[in-house]
Amino acid sequence: MTERLEQLLREAFPGDEVAVEDRTGGGDHFQVTVTSARFDGLSLVEQHRLVYDALATPLADGTIHELRIKTKGSQ
């Protein structure tokens, strides 16, 4: 599952640094970290929305039970 989330994030943020950690080992609690110039100048809400958009399918189908997001801009 970690790989699937990483793949979705890489497709949404091509060339950017993405990391996915399975926080509990159970395959449904994740910490994702994305570093992208696309976040520059955006509010945190807007930044997290981009991550949610990338992970819309696993969020909607219940695959992700808990998601923690950390976003970083290019600076």
Partner: protein, 119 residues
Amino acid sequence: MTEVSDQIKQVVENEDVALFMKGTPQLVMCGNSQRALEALRRAGAPVTVVDVLPDPRIREELSALSGWPTIPQVFVRGELVGGADIVEELEASGELEATLREKLGEDYGATEERVVTVT
């Protein structure tokens, strides 16, 4: 009987600080809801809580309104501030308190936590 969506809209628009969470401050049912609640407490926010668990429609209608897919969700004067990660980050940097001062006034303060039931 008012529609669920109207009740949610009323809470979002009328409460100074609204926290939609899983459970209540007395019995928190989710780690992220706990994190958001604690960050708001540290900032001294006057929190009004809605428990989304009693009826799945609450969560559906809330996400339809906010465009935010996860719980918890925090609003200050009708504006989405974010979920647990953002609220924690803004609290740690002092921006949450700055936002509360700006929107609620310099002398904003924590009142007793209120729980509003949406049915």
